[in-house]
């Protein structure tokens, strides 16, 4: 059975509880996309006009470190959101993303959704609340990684 974009969006936990009219608006900014293994999803410094929900596969969020090369900071997989730079001026990717496995995702037009959020602040608030949750989770994870919990006890 072929699922509509609206159906996929409404079933995603990220959009759980969102009003049906918003689901329709959001799905209007979305499309399905596929990446081969090793493909660049976006590059650090490029315009951030999109965000993704991974449906299948694995993506590395990476940073180019001089003398070390591209360094993976985190991986995101099925069900995860990828990218929030589209929400924050100057709308440029702070990090790059590259697939580690063949990946299917929903890609959302950030510009389109930003405009809709500006027009309807209730929608904007719902979207920001949900992205804040993602950002908080990433911040918590980063803090735990920084603790080096598995390192030798001091």
């Amino acid at each position: 059975m072929i699922q509509t974009l609206e159906g996929i969006v409404s079933e995603h936990p990220f959009f759980k509880g969102l009003d049906a009219r918003y689901i329709q608006l959001i799905a209007g900014c979305a499309k399905n996309v596929r990446f081969r293994e090793g493909e660049i999803v976006f590059r650090e410094g490029d315009a951030a006009d999109q965000f993704f929900f991974i449906r299948e596969g694995l993506v590395a969020v990476e940073l180019m470190v001089p003398h070390r090369g591209f360094t993976t900071l985190q991986t995101v997989g099925e069900g995860d959101a990828l990218g929030w730079s589209w929400l924050i001026p100057p709308y440029q990717w702070r990090f790059g993303a590259r697939t580690l496995q063949p990946t299917r995702a929903l890609v959302f037009d950030g510009k389109c959704l930003r405009r809709k959020c500006e027009d309807d602040h209730d929608l904007g608030y719902e979207i920001l609340k949900r992205f804040l949750h993602v950002v908080t989770e990433r911040l918590e994870s980063t803090r735990l990684q920084l603790l080096d919990l598995y390192g030798a006890p001091v």
């Binding site: 694995l58 590395a60 993976t72 994870s141 735990l144 080096d148 598995y150 030798a152």
Partner: protein, 288 residues
């Protein structure tokens, strides 16, 4: 193969729990740069050695000292058992210098065990990080050896780097059976690593298990377990089906000396494996 319940913990029968028995080292294997495994066999005919998954021994390195270390081998092998440890102090350093044929003193096994038999018919989710995989390995042996008794088995394991992944061959072998879900993540990816990077506890949210019918086992740094608990609770796993292995400074191992007191309990005899609802009121207290 005898069920685990037919192997009562030796500590309950031991007449002299403070007297170390000699065991000979059969093998010393390097797991990672700072972690090694010793294989031990009884000296003389003392009827083998039986233990339950999650229990620990007090290991006496003669002339150096004694440390508590969990048993890391298959509980159904009563002829030989293993301890896996990281070099963290004088005793483990001394232990690391021993060779095949050397002797160690062993007291034990002590403590409570993972509820592997009570988990039958349910999903079992094992979350662990770093050296915390070693105390869970006997439980994993049991789960894999009796696969048909459990519903889903999920292992989520976090290591510092890809080079710090313990028991790599076993993880690969278990994963290749296709009837368990094993996910490994590292805090820091190194060149050539194409797996997950991130904190192990974030994997709980999307792991395939039914919270209403799951037994969760967690062992690792206490901070890791705290975040694992939050994730399990968020998924709806009740406290009475979450088990943690706690760690404190243990000395006598039989609840006399009080070194490992943890609120109203002693880790050595009431633990190290606790059902979470029994320690919930003291778990997150910095003073305890």
């Amino acid at each position: 193969m005898a069920p685990l319940s037919e192997h009562p913990p030796m500590a309950t029968a031991a007449k002299e729990p403070m007297l170390p028995a000699p065991f000979r080292i059969e093998k010393v294997g390097q797991e990672t740069v700072d972690t090694f495994t010793v294989d031990l066999v009884p000296v003389g005919d003392n009827g083998g050695f039986s233990f339950l998954p999650g229990q620990f021994n007090m290991i006496y390195v003669f002339g150096v000292g004694e440390v508590p270390i969990s048993i890391s081998s298959d509980p159904e092998n009563t002829q030989r058992f293993q301890h896996t440890t990281r070099v963290v102090g004088a005793v483990t350093r001394g232990m690391g210098h021993l060779k095949k044929g050397d002797t160690l003193g062993i007291r034990g096994p002590f403590g409570t065990h993972w509820p592997v038999e009570q988990a039958e018919g349910r999903d079992v989710v094992v979350v662990t990080g770093g050296i915390g995989l070693a105390p869970l390995r006997p439980a994993l042996y049991y789960l894999m050896g009796h696969r048909e008794k459990f519903h889903r088995i999920v292992l989520l394991y976090g290591a510092r780097t890809p080079e710090d992944i313990l028991f790599r061959r076993e993880l690969e072998r278990w994963r290749s059976k296709f009837d368990v879900d094993i996910q490994v993540t590292v805090d820091r990816g190194t060149l050539g690593w194409r797996g997950n990077v991130g904190v192990v506890t974030t994997m709980i949210g999307r792991a395939p298990f039914d919270p209403a019918n799951t037994v969760a086992l967690a062992c690792g740094p206490e901070v890791m377990m705290r975040f694992a608990l939050m994730e399990f609770q968020r998924r709806g796993v009740p406290s009475e089906r979450i088990y943690l292995s706690m760690e404190r400074n243990m000395k006598c191992a039989i609840g006399f000396c009080g070194h490992c007191q943890y609120g109203p309990t002693f880790i050595c005899k009431d633990g190290p494996v606790f059902r979470f609802d029994r320690i919930e009121s003291i778990f997150n207290k910095a003073e305890i």
